[in-house]
């Protein structure tokens, strides 16, 4: 258990720091790379939670596809790639207060509610096959809906981004 906890601690620290850097850095490409770090760290945490399929998807979809998309977006909008720009608006103090409020109240409620709940370590472990069984039986309709959504998003993105 200790090993797990240490692992969690290290990963969580990396994730949080990367996330903070991501929203504060002035370089947009750096921000994208910090996001990669966050996503990868989360993937590792999924492994820790025995969710192998989610971890795989995380890596494939997020780090593989989404990040590439982001980088393309950054390039296409001609952001100053190496340069430094004022990335944070003048209203950042308000944003900070709001996010602190939200974070604070959420953390407080979580502490109050789940203060000492332990993760059950002896529960069933779901492998990819179990996930697919569930997806294609109980959640077949949402699954189809998500498929259609992806298709619609695909077409929508093409329509929007087309030059003419």
């Amino acid at each position: 258990m200790v090993a797990q906890n240490i692992f969690f601690g290290v990963i969580a620290a990396i994730v949080v720091v990367s996330a903070l850097r991501m929203v504060t850095t002035r370089n947009i490409v750096h921000a994208a790379l910090y996001l990669v770090a966050v996503l990868a760290g989360l993937g590792a945490l999924y492994i820790l939670l025995t969710a192998e399929f989610v971890a795989t998807t995380q890596v494939l979809v997020y780090i593989g596809a989404v990040m590439v998309l982001f980088l393309f977006g950054i390039m296409l909008t001609k952001a100053p790639l190496g340069g430094v720009m004022e990335m944070t608006g003048a209203q950042w103090p308000i944003a900070a207060v709001v996010s602190l409020l939200i974070g604070g109240v959420t953390v407080y409620s979580l502490m109050a509610r789940f203060g000492s709940d332990r993760l059950t370590s002896d529960g069933p472990i779901f492998r990819t096959a179990d996930v697919s069984d569930e997806v294609f039986s109980t959640y077949i309709v949402p699954f189809e809906a998500v498929s259609v959504l992806l298709l619609a998003a695909l077409i929508g993105a093409i329509v929007l981004a087309r030059k003419d």
Binding site: L35, T106, R118, E134
Partner: protein, 99 residues
């Protein structure tokens, strides 16, 4: 391991994401912050799934990832379009919601 480890991590990431959405001026950055928030939710889903011993948590996490991918696609397309029309992706330059 405590359940709360994951939940609080999620909460912190969510709050950071909120900050990013509210404070950042760059449209792409805003989208990235939204991704952060979605991921924060995903941790919660998976952690609760483990806690209750059900597979639904993972299933929903996968769904969220899929939806996030769709959202990024459309979102970036919109940013691109805006850039093409306005030569700027600074969200403060846009006040289309103005009455």
């Amino acid at each position: 391991m405590l359940l709360n480890q994951f939940l609080i991590l999620g909460a912190v990431l969510f709050a950071i994401g909120v900050y990013g959405v509210l404070a950042r001026r760059n449209g792409v950055m805003v989208l990235m912050s939204i991704e952060l928030m979605l991921n924060a939710v995903n941790i919660n889903l998976v952690a609760f799934g483990v806690q209750h011993g059900v597979v639904s948590g993972q299933v929903f996490a996968v769904f969220v990832i899929a939806v996030a991918a769709a959202e990024v696609g459309v979102g970036l397309a919109i940013v691109l379009l805006l850039y093409r029309n306005r030569r700027s992706i600074n969200v403060e330059d846009f006040d289309l919601m103005r009455g």
